[in-house]
């Protein structure tokens, strides 16, 4: 290639872009340092170890005003992860149900499923969040007229009051579950070998379910492990005010965030599931039928393994979206990382640059680690083509 042409089409544009970018960053950095100098703030992260002196309404770890900003950040992060993980679980369950329902040959079922999907996916998430919070959960009755659910859960304006599990020797119970899982895994392997040798099919599913249910239950029966419930009780504070004491209280902010995230994301997951199942060639179904597989076997052994290859990548994306969307918590004052850190902590310290960067960096780390995982998985399951 002609040297002049190379300079013109290759080096010049790149050099131009790079210079522009460096100048822009330099300009911003210069202004930032001038502005911070004017306000008497020195850039740095020392403030993280200072006393936060604000309270957080809901926390998974010990926290009060005397802890540091760093601890407050951790509380917010854990709250974000809590609502994201529970949201992901519920969204997946609902999404699979409605995705399969939309493909049902029952016209009524598939129509209802598509109404569900079209309704929730076309309404902004934040609107749903406001609806659940302000129009539903905030209009619930006061503790004295709580709505009972199965007489053990109580729904009030303060949230959902559930019994608390009090375990004795929880370790034994837990190891019973682990042992059951290990045994059923070994049984699965044995059953597979047996099938390969003799063609006989052992009832794998029932054996595994039985093991996982019975073994932990035995520890309860024999009295090694003890499970008690601490039920929430209505306590009268004065003539007009009463409240629930004991048990676990799930705050309404968490509930509404969970509802909104799960319903909204489930519609997208449902569409992914539908696309995945529809993306499998009809020939696969016919081939498995002609091999004599039942409908259930065909779905489990032939269709699903292939469909999952289509379903999983976009679904991971939805999990990521859900995690990022959980930041809307700030709108209804659920103490997630945005509200606690980018809200309250920022107001108190005035350190906009540090705090917004830390918050963004946290989300960035979450997203990038999930996408790396996803890319790795994608490569692993991708069809080897020529």
């Amino acid at each position: 290639m002609n040297i002049n042409k190379k300079v013109l089409t290759n080096i010049l544009p790149q050099g131009f872009v790079l210079t522009f970018l460096i100048l822009l960053i330099g300009f911003f950095a210069f202004n930032a340092s001038v502005n911070m100098g004017n306000r008497g703030i020195a850039f740095g992260f020392h403030f993280l170890s200072q006393e936060a002196s604000f309270d957080i309404t809901f926390s998974l770890i010990d926290y009060d005003g005397s802890y540091s900003y760093g601890r407050a950040y951790l509380v917010g992060l854990l709250n974000t992860l809590l609502v994201s993980v529970t949201g992901i679980i519920f969204a997946t369950i609902l999404g699979v149900i409605f995705g399969v329902a939309r493909l049902s040959d029952n016209v009524l079922v598939s129509k209802l499923a598509s109404v569900y999907i079209e309704t929730w996916r076309n309404i902004p998430l934040i609107l749903q969040l406001f609806f659940w919070y302000f129009a539903v959960l905030r209009t619930l009755p006061l503790p004295e007229n709580a709505i009972p659910i199965f007489d053990t859960l109580f729904l009030t304006i303060k949230g959902l009051h559930t019994p608390k599990f009090i375990w004795e020797n929880f370790g034994t119970f837990f190891s019973a579950i682990i042992i059951a899982l290990v045994i059923s895994y070994m049984f699965f392997k044995y059953a597979k070998k047996e099938q390969e040798i003799s063609g006989k099919q052992l009832p794998r599913f029932w054996v595994a379910t039985g093991l996982i249910l019975i073994l932990p239950y035995l520890t309860l029966l024999t009295g090694i492990v003890d499970l008690n419930f601490e039920h929430p009780e209505l306590i009268k504070l004065s003539d007009t005010v009463s409240t629930y004491k004991g048990g676990v209280t799930i705050i309404p902010e968490f509930l509404s965030l969970l509802f909104a995230l799960a319903l909204y994301t489930s519609t997208f997951i449902a569409e992914n599931v539908r696309a995945g199942i529809m993306g499998i060639n009809k020939g696969q179904r016919e081939a498995s039928a002609s091999l004599g597989l039942t409908k259930g076997q065909a779905l489990r052994l032939v269709i699903m393994p292939q469909a999952l290859r289509i379903i999983i990548p976009p679904t991971t994306n939805q999990y990521l979206n859900l995690t990022k969307n959980s930041s809307l918590a700030a709108a209804i004052a659920y103490p997630d990382i945005v509200l606690v850190f980018a809200g309250t902590a920022l107001m108190q310290t005035g350190r906009a640059i540090e705090i917004v960067s830390i918050t963004m960096f946290t989300y960035l780390t979450l997203s990038i680690s999930i996408s790396i995982l996803m890319n790795w998985y994608n490569k692993k399951i991708a069809l080897v083509e020529k």
């Binding site: 089409t9 290759n10 544009p13 790149q14 872009v17 790079l18 970018l21 911003f28 202004n31 930032a32 001038v34 502005n35 911070m36 004017n38 049902s104 040959d105 029952n106 016209v107 009524l108 079922v109 209802l112 079209e118 309704t119 076309n122 309404i123 902004p124 998430l125 934040i126 609107l127 749903q128 406001f130 609806f131 302000f134 129009a135 539903v136 905030r138 209009t139 990022k324 969307n325 930041s327 809307l328 700030a330 709108a331 945005v338 980018a342 920022l346 906009a352 640059i353 917004v356 960067s357 918050t359 963004m360 989300y363 960035l364 997203s367 990038i368």
Partner: protein, 415 residues
């Protein structure tokens, strides 16, 4: 199972029509039972279970093989092909019977539509008076009442321009698009903000309501599309520095939630500007949303670029086209056509994301509803407001997705 079938419904012994008559009776009875609790009520669960069992047996009798009854067989195929399907059908119908009356009562029959104040809401249902009274505020925000014609005019110009695409011939179309991108934003700004042509100045802090939702989404859409295309091209470029800058840019914006972007625009960005200078809140907001959505747009367009066969690039190069010419006339038209659904989805996502601007203190339709519901004279009407907003958003998102489906079909060159 087949034994039970044989006992309940022996083949050929009795006329099919009698089975169908029995079945229809049972189904009708089960519906009536579900609707009015005809049977002796033990408790709710048991009585609905009885209705369910009767309904399933009824549907089982209806499932005929008779070739003459074409309509009935189609009905069976649709909702009654197996016992399990019959069960699902009944569950759906019972749920509809149980809950539609409540929804109907709340939405229509017990709701109040006309009036001026909270006291006019006497029914047990929704209070649509709330929407009625606040309607102008929901649409125009705090924009002065006598000036709202300017908002209307801007949107009418936009609608006419977009509508005229259907009427004029192919050659003029690109001028309309150029007008939309380069001229229309200035016309709209002059109309909305005023300050010249004898129009009084209205600061962006007074804009609001649905109009603001549209202003932000339209501007962000107009800007994010070309930016996204450029980023996608950059990401596939052979120039290493440009490629990695584009990758970094895209992955950064895709990795953070929009709400933190808006936080950045509202508290962090002013720190980066020279002391004393000020950028309007609305502009910062639109820039933030544009950059954010451009990253998503870039990934959508990249999908289209990757899907094009290599031959298209080679063919364009072999007839002597340069990089820009090749992209503009050969690659992008095909690539973009491939990803119309993705582009619409990004636009819909952008439109649905606009309420987040509450972070910056701007009040679009949802913000106005939140403002109205805390008005001391109108406490307790959150549900009505949100249902109204949901309807508005749902309608526009639905229309957008339907339009994109039509566009996709129209542009399809597959035979």
């Amino acid at each position: 199972m087949s034994k039970i079938t044989a006992i309940l419904r022996p083949e050929g012994k009795i006329d099919e029509k009698i089975y169908i008559a029995i079945g229809s009776l049972l189904v009708a009875f089960s519906f009536l039972d579900a609707a009015f609790n005809l049977l002796i009520v033990v408790n709710d669960t048991v009585s609905s279970l009885i209705a369910l069992v009767i309904g399933i047996v009824g549907l089982f009798y209806i499932r005929t093989e008779d070739r003459k009854l074409f309509k009935l067989r189609q009905f069976n195929k649709a909702i009654n092909s197996t016992n399990f399907n019959a069960f699902l059908t009944l569950i759906c119908i019972f749920a509809i019977i149980e809950y539609t009356p409540y929804a109907y009562k709340w939405l229509f029959s017990e709701a109040n539509f006309v009036g001026n104040s909270k006291e006019d809401c006497t029914g047990g249902g929704a209070c649509w008076v709330f929407i009625n009274v606040w309607f102008n505020k929901f649409i125009y925000g705090l924009y002065p009442n006598e000036e709202t014609w300017r908002v209307n005019a801007a949107f009418i110009i936009l609608l006419l321009t977009v509508g005229s695409v259907y009427l004029v011939n192919e050659k003029l179309k690109k001028y309309i698009i150029l007008f939309l991108i380069f001229v229309f934003p200035f016309i709209a700004l002059t109309l909305l903000a005023g300050g010249s042509f004898n129009l009084s100045y209205i600061p962006s802090t007074e804009w609001g309501g649905l109009a603001l939702t549209f202003i932000i989404s339209i501007f962000a859409m107009i800007f994010c599309f070309p930016l996204g295309v450029l980023l996608a091209m950059g990401r596939r470029s052979e120039l290493k520095i440009i490629k990695y800058i584009c990758i970094g840019f895209i992955e950064f914006w895709r990795g953070v939630p929009l709400i933190t972007v808006l936080f950045m625009a509202s508290v962090m960005f002013p720190m980066f500007l020279p002391d004393g200078s000020y950028v309007d809140k609305l502009v910062r907001c639109i820039v933030g949303i544009t950059l954010f959505e451009a990253a998503y747009m870039a990934e959508v367009v990249r999908g289209g670029l990757q899907a094009l066969p290599k031959g298209q690039y080679e063919a364009a190069k072999s007839i002597g086209m340069g990089y820009w010419k090749m992209n503009a006339f050969v690659i992008l038209p095909q690539a973009i056509k491939l990803v119309i659904p993705g582009i619409t989805n990004t636009f819909i996502a952008l439109f649905k994301d606009t309420p987040l601007i509450f972070v910056m203190g701007l009040l679009e339709i949802l913000g106005m509803i939140n403002l109205a519901k805390t008005n001391p004279e109108w406490l307790g009407f959150a549900a009505e407001g949100y249902v109204f907003a949901a309807l508005v958003f749902w309608l526009f998102c639905y229309l957008m997705s339907k339009y994109s489906q039509r566009l996709e079909q129209k542009l399809s060159t597959e035979r």
